[in-house]
Amino acid sequence: MKELIPLQHFLYISIILFSLGVYAILTKRNTIVVLMGVELILNSANINLVAFSQYDPQLLQGQMLAIFVIVLAAAEAAVGLAIILNIYDKFRTVNLDELDTMKG
């Protein structure tokens, strides 16, 4: 069977998403946008896993790992947003530069 899409092209898309996620984490001041950057990075990792998994039809290890990554991303988003809501309740802001008190 002829190869439809070369493996490298998946990897190129994935590294673009990864560096965009790193940029969002480094530059944004709003906590929720930082969480969006984390989601972008998790997605880029998943693209890699799934792209390699198409050459592994017996074991499907990449796809299985990708499922667990998706589940953990959901748990991470839920806990992260709960923490952000708590922070907002206490400090009335989610700006990372203003959150500099511990045990506030």
Binding site: I5, L7, K28, P57, I67
Partner: protein
């Protein structure tokens, strides 16, 4: 290049374009909605990598769950009346340089990597045994979840329950502090 391949690059353009919009726009609501199309596009890329179940799971979990949670978070952590919901930025130049450096390092690595020399991929290609796009992977994934991956599966179940209970407990407004602030 046939139509299927052309569509792949269209989806890739959607993914990359909307991801760039997510990180460049100042309006958080716009960023959340651009993230919608990023996740949709990534689901399409999964289909091209012959992972139909992962694509559907991506749609359900990311688009249906995580994004709604994010938008809830945006709504609950901003004083909506009056001012615009925006995010400020800092270290723009340093952040750009660092992420560009990471991008270039990975790009060079991928271009120097010898993909035609990976033996297990070549073996599968030679036999023509790649994942068959005409058959669904759900059957195989279901059997694997209940045999090889049963322990990770159960642990993930416990972890999800803990995470969701913990999140619900933490997000609950504490009645004690509320009285104090009143």
């Amino acid at each position: 290049m046939n139509l299927t391949q052309l569509l792949f690059y269209c989806f890739a353009a959607v993914v990359i374009g909307s991801a760039i919009f997510v990180v460049t726009t100042k309006n958080i609501i716009y960023a959340a909605f651009a993230l919608f199309s990023t996740f949709f596009g990534v689901a399409a890329l999964y289909v091209y990598a012959r992972a139909d179940f992962i694509a559907v799971a991506q749609l359900i979990v990311y688009v249906g769950g995580i994004l709604v949670l994010l938008i809830f978070g945006v709504m609950l952590t901003n004083k909506v009346s009056g001012q615009k919901i925006q995010t400020q930025e800092r270290n723009k130049i340093a952040g750009f340089i660092i992420s560009l450096a990471i991008f270039l390092i990975l790009l060079v690595t991928i271009q120097k990597a010898n993909f035609s020399g990976i033996s297990w991929i070549n073996e599968i290609k030679l036999k023509g045994q790649e994942l068959d796009p005409s058959t669904s992977t759900i059957h195989a994934i279901g059997i694997k979840t209940m045999t090889d991956y049963i322990i990770p599966f159960e642990i993930t179940g416990v972890l999800l329950m803990m995470a969701l209970l913990g999140a619900a407990y933490m997000a609950r407004r504490d009645s004690g502090t509320e009285k104090k602030s009143d």
